[in-house]
């Protein structure tokens, strides 16, 4: 066990990051920062002066208070930092340059053929994005990559994605790090989305939630006490492989009866008259089969959510992916089932919400990892 002691350097860095994190999602005056952090106003002033000097923060126009002197809010300069967000999928990727204010400056789509060096197109697009005018090299903080699992976020390696052969066993992290000299952060789609929602109003103020990404598979990202839930070896949650049928169908993962085998949209619709979740939702008021299938989907998901929440209590579930369409129909079904069945001694009931539908969220959430890790304390 190597544990590091604290010293003045650490203290300074910690407090600086603390202030930056506070300013990440809203502007605050020096006095307000002092109140929220427990720092004295004097210390806050010193830190603010340094951040102003470094060009990370700027003063906004003064704001009147109910009583007393006006305060001048500080805001994070959007141009204080940039990151490149890359969203990988089966046959290509979307990539974009994002500033720390959450604006996509430029973006790009690439299709991949699978021939030659798979990383070459990525290197090119990164090269191109990082030469965007007005972006100084030293302001480019890192590269965030959102990819379908399974992968090893720590070593930056994509493992053995089913139906995703293109990227089989590619050490994307180290290789891009090598090529660009920038830190690379890799996470699966759902974890990436979950991480993006944390601390934002889009997550309804919760810092203990499950993000459930249902489309051709079932992905999960769990935020517990404001941090991505990670186990040994930085393995992140795979709710898609919770067993919900002990005598069920075999899954590619080697187990049987996995949630994904039932709740992934193609699996749910297999053998029915529906070809997409949208089609099913649109038929809800006319076709009893649609109603039945949605109830089934809610049943499958709820079974897995109950198992999760009995292990790591969450207070809400955010739906993402196909389920966003007609979310208001399935939300109460899941909510009722989950709360009826989970242990809940003295806890608030679990709420189900739609996740944020922000334009470009796939690129934004990927890039966000780079910002988040660099402000991480």
């Amino acid at each position: 066990m190597r544990v590091v002691a604290r010293n003045a350097d650490y203290t300074k860095e910690y407090n600086r990051k603390l202030v930056l994190r506070l300013l990440r999602h809203q502007p605050l005056s020096r006095a307000e920062i002092a109140r929220r952090t427990g720092l004295t106003r004097a210390s806050t002033s010193l830190i603010a002066a340094e951040l102003l000097n470094d060009g990370l923060v700027r003063e906004m126009s003064p704001v009147a208070n109910p009583r007393g002197r006006t305060s001048t809010p500080l805001m994070l300069c959007p141009e204080a930092g940039y990151a490149i967000g890359i969203y990988l999928n089966r046959d290509g990727c979307s990539a974009g340059l994002v500033d720390i204010g959450g604006n996509i400056i430029v973006s790009n789509e690439i299709r991949m053929t699978g021939e030659g060096d798979k990383l070459e197109p990525l290197r090119q697009v990164i090269q191109q994005l990082s030469q965007t005018e007005g972006v100084q090299r030293e302001r480019l903080l890192g590269i965030g990559i959102s990819a379908p699992g399974p992968l090893d976020g720590e070593s930056g390696r994509i493992l053995n994605p089913p139906r995703f052969d293109l990227w089989h066993q590619v050490e994307i992290g180290p290789q891009l790090q090598e090529a660009t000299g920038l830190p690379v952060f890799l996470a699966n789609n759902a974890t990436c989305l979950a991480s993006y929602h944390c601390g934002r109003p889009e997550s309804y103020g919760s810092s203990n939630f499950l993000l459930l990404l249902v489309d051709s598979g079932v992905g999960s990202g769990v935020i517990s006490k404001g941090k991505v839930l990670k186990g040994a070896g930085y393995f992140t949650s795979e709710l898609g492989h919770t067993t919900i049928r002990y005598d069920g169908r075999p899954c590619a993962c080697g187990n049987i009866g996995c949630l994904e085998e039932y709740a992934a949209i193609p699996k749910l619709l297999n053998g029915t008259g529906f070809h997409s979740w949208k089609e099913l939702v649109d038929a809800l008021d006319s076709d009893p089969e649609a109603v039945y299938l949605m109830a089934q989907e809610a049943e499958y998901l709820s079974a897995a959510i109950v198992n999760l929440t009995n292990l790591v209590r969450i207070d809400s579930v955010l739906l993402a992916g196909d389920l966003l369409y007609g979310a208001e129909r399935i939300m109460p079904l899941i909510e009722r089932r989950v709360n009826r069945r989970c242990l809940s001694y003295g806890c608030q009931p679990i709420r189900v919400y739609p996740s944020a539908s922000v334009p470009g969220i796939r690129i934004l959430s990927a890039a966000d990892m780079a910002f988040d890790r660099l402000l991480r304390i």
Copy 2:
């Protein structure tokens, strides 16, 4: 979000606790502490001087090194701190006074009738234990209580334990805190045992493990990254209520098909010729039914463990309770099933071990919470 800044006070306290934690389980020289913490030798010396002065630490006789000057190891004084550990069960409790070196100084058993003030006997035994000769009041650090779940460790309230009516809804934490003026820490048996194993050789060096306590119920304690896994509201894991049969028997918790309904020993043995786990184990070589039942038990437990490890990857499972008897027979059964079915991209296989069988472990693990929390950083 209230997040506190760091200052010199924090730094000092952090480093002091860091050193004390390092010395908790083995003696180390100043130079070795410096190497492990990253502190300079000078700082380590200063901290050590203070700890020596406070009587928390003492010097051992010098030890020769392969080369260079001899080093004088520092050890935590066993009498540096004491805690009272209380293990509650259905009809009474065991209580003991424990020193920080892990020695039980005095202990006591109480039977409870359920009449009158349930807390009065506890107050008396605490009073009595805390007046043990040679124990200064200011060295008594707290009271740790290990109880069958469910309970709310944070508010110190026992909730609604099935088959445990005596303690229904008792606010044991605040009440004993009020009566004694000491901090009170409450956790369920399994969590308490898990926490005790963490950081000790008894947990085989792991800091990501599940402790599975199987007897009349199924309790679980998960240690992830060296800390007890807690969700929102400080809810701890309840693997006993993972669904392993979607069409199974109703459980007292309101769900159906919970692990506990199948794997708790009385449930497993119900309707068989066996009256205890020991009887079953002893019959393994002569009675095929015993073999079948043990395989069943392994099957049930494995199903739940797989679900757990797909959410929060662990590297080992420690068996406690009845399963300790004949553990070497069931261990490989569980190990094989779990590793065959869980996601394990690039991870080491999960190992199953017996938990420590230390005399008085119930009292020790309860008391340990008080020590642990006070050294917690």
